[in-house]
Every structure is written in structure tokens, then in C-alpha cells.
């Protein structure tokens, strides 16, 4: 089960560029449980296109996708309930706050579950749960979505997808536009969901620090191709990182600078600030 890409390509035609291939021959396997995957790549590398295939929002131009046993090809298949797939694989877009439209926060979060034919009472309780998951209290339920701050709006819209109780969660830059504290809250939330419920989570991000700290599997897209699928640390050890237009995490960069400047022999591969600090203290003999 889960999601499997088999030589999937997707062509777009756009006003500006005519016909171009957004993703080429992608082979990828995402199991339905326990995975915590980062999807990175510069703008235009095909990350968003890849994500939109995962819940059958768009179909491959060639190749096929297997999502929870359903085979998705370029042709629409009347036997497949694509809506059902979208409940199982929840996709949150970047700037999801733009999708808020209901009179109250509660109604907006319930929109998803109700569309998937869940009974009203169940939808209500799912909404309540989802809201507390994103760190907002019940008081928000009756408020209007438009009076919330940017960060609160973002959390409400994420709650809207969580309330659908998806099995796999795909999020496109969920932390963009948030302040550092807000970023941490969300990332810890996702890590929590992954560890406690076992749901697979895929996060598109540009932040290499987050990738290094939180993830064990990273997918790198470059110009429509998937060029890396593996552990973050091995990725950062590669020589050709620049070719993928990726930066190194700041801990690695800072420790490298110290090694160069002060001829130290620090192990630069430290995932967090705390670990980096310990490494420095170790080397200067504390």
C-alpha cells in the first residue's frame, strides 16, 4: 500500500513556456506508515508537481501511480473514487490560509470531513481534536477565520486537513512565513503526529536546518528529476550539492568555518545547536 510512482512524467503547457516537462521518469516508493520524509529542491524543480500527484489532484502524462491499491494513469478511470484518495492522502498547500472561507473556524475545519460524507457529530469532534492538535484552544471554534493572525490562520487551515483524518500527510512549505518560534511549534507537532500515530508525513521545505534536525529521509528534486533519495547526512557529504542548488545546514557551515579558521578538528556533522555545542566543548577539552 502507500504510494508508489512508476516512471511518472508530467508535462505542462503554460502561457510563458509552452510545453515543458515538470517531472521526468520518477520512481518513488512511500510506505503508508512511520515515514517522515523531506522533499527539497529549488523552485521549478518539480516538487509541487510531485506532491500534487500524491493525492491524485493531477494525473501523470506517462507512467503510472499506485495509491492505496488504485492505479492512477493519464486517463480518468470511472471506477476509482479519486475523492476517496484525497481523504486518505491529505495535501496542504503553501499559504493554506487563503482557502479559509466559512463563517466560523469550526465550520471551516468541518468542511473537509463533511465533504467526505462523515456524520456531522463525528466531523465536529474531529474538528475539535484537530484544533487542539495545532495548539489552539476551543475558544477559537466560534471565531471568524478572518480575525485571526497570520500564524493562527495557517494553523486553522492545517487543522482543516488533519480533521479529515488522512493516513498520509503531504505539506508544501507549512512553515513559510512563520516566525522561528512558530516554525518550531509546527515541526514538533508534525514529528509528534508521526511518532504517536505512525502516519507517514512528507514535507516540502527549503530549510536545510529543519531537514537535518527532523528528518531521516530526504528526496531531492532537480530540474524535474529525482536525484537523491536517502539520509540527509550522506546528502550533505556529497561534493555536488551546489549543483542541486541546495545549501548546507548552518551547523555544518559554522563548524566548517571554525575548523578552517582555527585549525580545529571538529566533526562538522551535528544535527542541532546543542550537539554542535557539545562537539566544540569536547574538542576544546571541557
Amino acid at each position: 500500500m502507500g504510494i508508489r510512482f512508476n516512471k511518472v512524467s508530467h508535462d505542462y503547457s503554460s502561457f510563458s513556456e509552452g510545453l515543458y516537462t515538470a517531472i521526468k521518469n520518477i520512481d518513488l516508493s512511500i510506505t503508508e506508515k512511520h515515514e517522515f520524509i523531506a522533499l527539497v529542491g529549488q523552485t521549478g524543480s518539480g516538487k509541487s508537481t510531485l506532491a500534487k500527484h500524491m493525492n491524485a489532484l493531477i494525473f501523470p502524462t506517462s507512467g503510472n501511480l499506485e495509491i492505496y491499491g488504485n492505479i492512477i494513469t493519464s486517463k480518468r478511470n470511472r471506477k476509482i473514487s479519486y475523492n476517496d484518495i484525497r481523504r486518505k492522502v491529505g495535501l496542504v498547500f503553501q499559504f493554506p490560509e487563503y482557502q479559509l472561507f466559512e463563517e466560523t473556524v469550526e465550520k471551516d475545519i468541518m468542511f473537509g470531513p463533511l465533504n467526505f460524507k462523515m456524520p456531522v457529530e463525528k466531523a465536529k469532534s474531529l474538528a475539535k481534536n484537530a484544533l487542539s492538535l495545532v495548539g489552539l484552544d476551543d475558544g477559537y471554534l466560534s471565531r471568524s477565520p478572518y480575525n485571526l493572525s497570520g500564524g493562527e490562520k495557517k494553523r486553522v487551515s492545517i487543522a482543516g486537513i488533519l480533521a479529515m483524518d488522512p493516513e498520509i500527510l503531504v505539506l508544501d512549505e507549512p512553515t513559510s512565513g512563520l516566525d522561528p518560534a512558530g516554525k518550531r511549534v509546527l515541526m514538533d507537532l508534525f514529528k509528534n503526529i508521526n511518532e504517536q500515530t505512525g502516519k507517514t508525513i512528507v514535507i516540502i521545505t527549503h530549510d536545510m536546518d529543519l531537514v537535518y534536525e527532523y528528518f531521516n529521509r530526504v528526496l531531492v528534486m532537480n530540474k524535474g528529476n529525482m536525484v537523491y533519495d536517502g539520509e540527509p547526512e550522506s546528502l550533505f557529504k556529497q561534493e555536488n550539492l551546489r549543483d542541486y542548488h541546495l545549501d548546507l545546514p548552518n551547523t555544518i557551515k559554522v563548524l566548517t568555518h571554525l575548523n578552517n579558521k582555527m585549525q580545529l578538528k571538529l566533526n562538522i556533522f551535528q544535527r542541532t545547536n546543542e550537539l554542535a555545542l557539545k562537539e566544540i566543548e569536547r574538542v576544546i577539552g571541557l
Binding site: F15, P180, K253, I284
Partner: protein, 267 residues
């Protein structure tokens, strides 16, 4: 008098909560100032005040010695321009050329002069090949550069950036910041409202606002060293400085701290 002076600036929407409370600032020509603070601290309101977009605040604002009043807003706006956060919502023209022309059209600049200036400033921001392109064919970073060209074409030498990079991808962001660095090297005064610590570190001085008041306005280094003030900025210390602050003050420790500070402040 300093190039930009703000004296006793007060402002509230609808006479309720004070959005700006007794703000006093002096900025020198050619400085790079970063403005930090939580959402709602008054940063954007201050920016709007300086460019005359606010309805009659209390207090005085002087740009290059001239006081900002209702009547001479147009003179002031020749000296100072603002680039907003959403690249799409400030692009007025149907093409790049039209957009750069917009400000000059409003000032009734003769057509020949406009054409010359457009070519010149488009080249300056590396958008000359794109003059006939429409905004849908441009990236966010390119649109922001067009906005800058439009401001430069009015011969402004002060530019306010109100979170102008926050909607851009990292590559466009870096490109834009590199360009802004160049502008500053050429002598432009830069006032940058930002949530990005790396951008803040590029400034000569940092202004930290909290609930409409100024909490601190000091050299970048001093702000970074002041824990209390720094938490008000709503930012996280960069990794290098976080490590530096946590290291002991032994001889070795001091050396490493120095190296870390040097790393953090490389421009």
C-alpha cells in the same frame, strides 16, 4: 540635522490603541537600518508614516531637512520609495516598461525622458531584456527588481523594504539581497523591515520595536549581545551567535567566540 528624522511620532487608528507611541529616530545618509519586532509592533505603520501614507499622524517627520506635510508629500516621495511584501500587488503596469514608467507618469515627466530613464534603470536592475514582458512571466524576485527600478527612476535615494523578501524562494531572496547590498554600496539609504536574521545582520544599526514603542536602536552587534532586547525582535539568533553565547569565557572559549562573531557578521 540627520538625513531622516522622526520626532515624537504618535499614531492610532480610530483613536483607540496607539500603533506608534512617541517614536524618535535619526538615520544618516547611506545607512542600512533593519527594523525588527513582533507582528503588530508598528514596523509597517512606521514605514507608511515615513512615506506619507498615514492619515495625519502627530509628530514630525523630516526627510533631507524638509518636513513631511500634506502639501509636500509629492516632493518627499521623490526622495523615498517603498517596496512591499507581495510582488504581485504592487505591479501596476501591463509590461515591465509600463510599470517602471508609472511613477514618472504621475509626475508628468516628458515622454522622451521617461524612455531614457526606463532603459537606464532597467539595465541597472538587470531587467533590460524583460522590458516588454508581462508580470505573469516574471518570478517574484524579478517583480521586486522592477519595483526597485521604478523607485530609482524617480531619483529616490532612500528605499524602504517592508518584508520584501518574505514571499520569495531562497534563490530569489539571495539575488535580491545581493542587489540591495550593491545599492547600499552606491550610497542609497536602506531601511529594511524583516523577519530574517541574516538580513538583519547586514544592517549597520537595528531598530527594535515593541507595541508601538522603540525598545532599542543600536549597532547590530550590541543588539545581538543584548538578550532581553533580542527576544523582542521575534527572531532567533543565528547558529553561530547562539553557540557563541553558550560557550564559556575561557581563553580558548574567547577565541572561538571571536571566530563565531566574525562568521555571523560577514557581509
Amino acid at each position: 540635522m540627520s538625513y531622516i528624522e522622526v520626532k515624537k511620532l504618535d499614531f492610532s487608528y480610530n483613536n483607540k490603541v496607539k500603533v506608534l507611541d512617541d517614536v524618535n529616530i535619526e538615520i544618516n545618509k547611506g545607512e542600512w537600518i533593519a527594523i525588527l519586532g513582533h507582528n503588530g509592533s508598528g514596523k509597517s505603520t512606521l514605514a507608511k508614516a515615513m512615506i506619507g501614507l498615514l492619515e495625519i499622524p502627530d509628530g514630525h517627520i523630516f526627510i533631507d531637512g524638509i518636513e513631511l506635510t500634506e502639501d509636500n508629500v509629492y516632493q518627499i516621495r521623490k526622495k523615498i520609495g517603498i517596496v512591499f511584501q507581495n510582488p504581485d500587488n504592487q505591479f501596476v503596469g501591463v509590461t515591465v516598461r509600463d510599470d517602471i514608467a508609472f511613477g514618472m507618469e504621475n509626475l508628468c515627466v516628458p515622454r522622451d525622458e521617461m524612455l531614457e530613464k526606463i532603459d537606464f534603470y532597467a539595465k541597472k536592475v538587470n531587467m533590460y531584456e524583460f522590458l516588454d514582458k508581462e508580470p505573469t512571466n516574471l518570478s517574484g524576485g524579478q517583480k521586486q527588481r522592477v519595483a526597485i527600478a521604478g523607485i530609482l527612476a524617480m531619483q529616490s535615494d532612500i528605499i524602504i523594504f517592508d518584508e520584501a523578501t518574505s514571499m520569495l524562494d531562497p534563490y530569489s531572496r539571495e539575488e535580491l539581497i545581493d542587489y540591495i547590498k550593491e545599492l547600499n554600496r552606491e550610497g542609497l539609504t536602506i531601511i529594511m523591515i524583516t523577519h530574517d536574521i541574516n538580513e538583519a545582520l547586514l544592517a549597520n544599526r537595528i531598530l527594535v520595536m515593541n507595541k508601538g514603542k522603540i525598545s532599542a536602536f543600536d549597532r547590530t552587534e550590541n543588539i545581538m549581545r543584548n538578550k532581553e532586547v533580542f527576544t523582542l525582535s521575534n527572531l532567533e539568533l543565528p547558529v553561530a551567535l547562539d553557540l557563541a553565547n553558550s560557550l564559556p569565557n575561557s581563553d580558548q572559549g574567547k577565541l572561538i567566540k571571536e571566530a563565531l562573531w566574525e562568521y555571523a557578521l560577514i557581509k
